[in-house]
């Protein structure tokens, strides 16, 4: 399905602390082209921190992150911005611009980064994306008028407008009802098919992990302690902390 050797993201020995709080303690991770990689882990283990390091919102203390062949250490802002355009970052709390309508939210990254677009081209792109996330009617609404699930989908649409090669989803299904979760899971898979993205999906939700993930990695105590397919990670889970994760999601 995906070529094993083509890695779009390579993380090696990454460490990150906030004062006394040692969050990431030597993280290694690969993302292969065309795969959905699910990252699991307890709240507060540093999953969000990890993907923020990838887009340069935070800086690691040690280690290297290579994205699309570029080492992100010491990148100039201009170079970093070029790389950022190839990465879609769907925020945990959507982070829609609340002074702008849905249409303006989607347009904003586009008109800022792509010069000489006609009004028609912009409209076509915005409307097309809203269609594909299933929310064409919200185009003139303000973010405050949307439900949590709608916000998540608009947030994903906004990141897709620049046609990224890599998608980073931060807990796309957190706090949503099961039906909406299914919609979002389908959307993540649909994005992968339509846009040929490689994605990292952070989640607590094992159904989401199972449905969207080609591989998964479990972050425990600042390191990835189990990496593999869903079955490999959970079927013979000997680590009690991984097992409790599974039990909580499926047995309760």
């Amino acid at each position: 399905m995906h070529s094993e050797d083509e890695k779009v993201v390579e993380i090696r020995g990454v460490k990150k602390s906030f004062d006394e709080n040692h969050v990431l303690r030597g993280v290694d991770l690969d993302l292969h082209k065309g795969e959905n990689l699910v990252v699991l882990g307890k709240s507060g283990t540093g999953k969000s921190v990890l993907i923020k390091l990838m887009v340069g919102l935070l800086k690691q203390d040690e280690g290297t992150i290579t994205i699309l062949g570029k080492n992100t250490n010491n990148l100039k802002l201009k170079e970093l911005n070029k790389l950022r355009l190839k990465i879609g970052f769907a925020f945990q709390a959507s982070a829609l611009y609340d002074s702008m309508t849905v249409r303006e939210n989607l347009e904003f990254p586009l008109v800022r980064n792509v010069k000489n677009l006609t009004r028609k081209e912009i409209n076509k792109k915005v409307e097309g994306l809203l269609d594909s996330v299933g929310l064409p009617k919200t185009i003139n609404q303000m973010p405050a008028e949307l439900s949590g699930g709608q916000k998540k989908r608009i947030g994903i649409a906004r990141t897709l407008i620049l046609e990224p090669e890599i998608m980073l989803y931060d807990e796309p299904t957190a706090g949503l009802d099961p039906t909406t979760c299914i919609d979002i899971n389908n959307l993540i898979n649909q994005v992968k098919e339509e846009y040929n993205t490689s994605s990292i999906v952070i989640t607590h939700d094992l159904t989401c992990a199972k449905v969207t993930g080609d591989r998964m990695a479990v972050l425990i105590d600042g390191q990835f302690q189990a990496v593999g397919t869903f079955e490999e990670v959970f079927a013979q889970a000997t680590n009690p902390r991984i097992k409790s994760f599974y039990d909580y999601n499926f047995i309760q």
């Binding site: 950022r84 355009l85 609340d98």
Partner: protein
């Protein structure tokens, strides 16, 4: 080793540390403004929108306050002047007081309350809901889009609002003078303009630019550095007002010294 000694520091040193780091951060923020303001993109649309917002937000309150200040100030000055039979000096006195000090000060303080707090709250909430991060990851410079545009807008708008306040206050004063001393509009304004010099108007406008810059940059700084969720947003709004009012008074004092030095040089 170093962490140990840090924790054992006496409270006062810790507070001083925090104060100095804050000062250094604020200095860096202002420096960043001056290094970014000259280069494109210039965000004209956003600057214009902010100018409109500032005017729209503060105009009603400024009109009312300016008018009342004019009336009250005139009324309270009359007894002292009439003791010397010098009520005919009222227009000159009022005009100097309003143009040199009251106009800029009243406008800036009101704008600090209305505009500064809303800038602090708006940018603060964008910060804590990760909207600023969202701009950054879409390769948009949030500092330029949010901070530079708002600070330019306040810097341009406060002097305009000050001129307006001066005018409204003088109208208020005229109504009071007209009722009591039966002075006509034209006589009143001739006396007003005779009393003020070019230096008065010029220094008042320069001072207003500085006030405007202060209100904008302080609101942005407090918002940009807010944390701890919604609680932080309220704090940022509040701190913007307190800090910019404090600075405005300091600047007023400094301006007084500088202008006097020029005037009597």
């Amino acid at each position: 080793m170093s962490e140990k000694s840090e924790n054992n520091k006496p409270v006062l040193t810790k507070k001083l540390d925090k104060f100095l780091t804050g000062l250094a951060n604020a200095f860096r923020f202002v420096k960043r403004f001056f290094s970014e303001v000259w280069f494109p993109p210039y965000e004209f649309k956003e600057i214009l929108r902010q100018c409109y917002e500032i005017g729209y937000r503060s105009l009603p309150l400024i009109s009312l306050t300016g008018f009342i200040v004019g009336i009250v100030f005139t009324n309270q000055s009359r007894p002292s002047l009439s003791e010397f039979g010098a009520t005919s000096w009222l227009p000159a006195l009022i005009s100097i007081a309003i143009i040199r000090a009251m106009g800029p000060l009243v406008t800036a303080l009101i704008a600090a309350g209305k505009v500064g707090s809303s800038i602090g709250a708006e940018i603060g909430s964008m910060k804590v809901t990760e909207q600023i991060d969202a701009m950054e990851v879409s390769a948009i410079n949030p500092f330029k889009y949010l901070v530079v545009s708002r600070t330019i807008a306040t810097t341009l708008m406060i002097p305009i609002l000050v001129l307006y306040t001066d005018f409204v206050a003088l109208i208020g004063s005229f109504i009071n003078v007209n009722q009591n001393e039966l002075v006509s509009l034209s006589t009143f304004f001739v006396q007003v303009f005779e009393a003020v010099s070019f230096l008065d108007v010029f220094s008042s406008l320069i001072k207003s630019l500085v006030f405007g810059f202060t209100i904008g940059i302080v609101g942005c700084y407090k918002g940009y550095n807010s944390s701890n969720g919604t609680e932080g947003v309220g704090k940022a709004a509040n701190a913007s007002v307190v800090m910019s009012m404090f600075l405005i008074f300091i600047e007023e004092l400094l301006a007084l010294q500088i202008v006097n030095a020029i005037r009597y040089a």
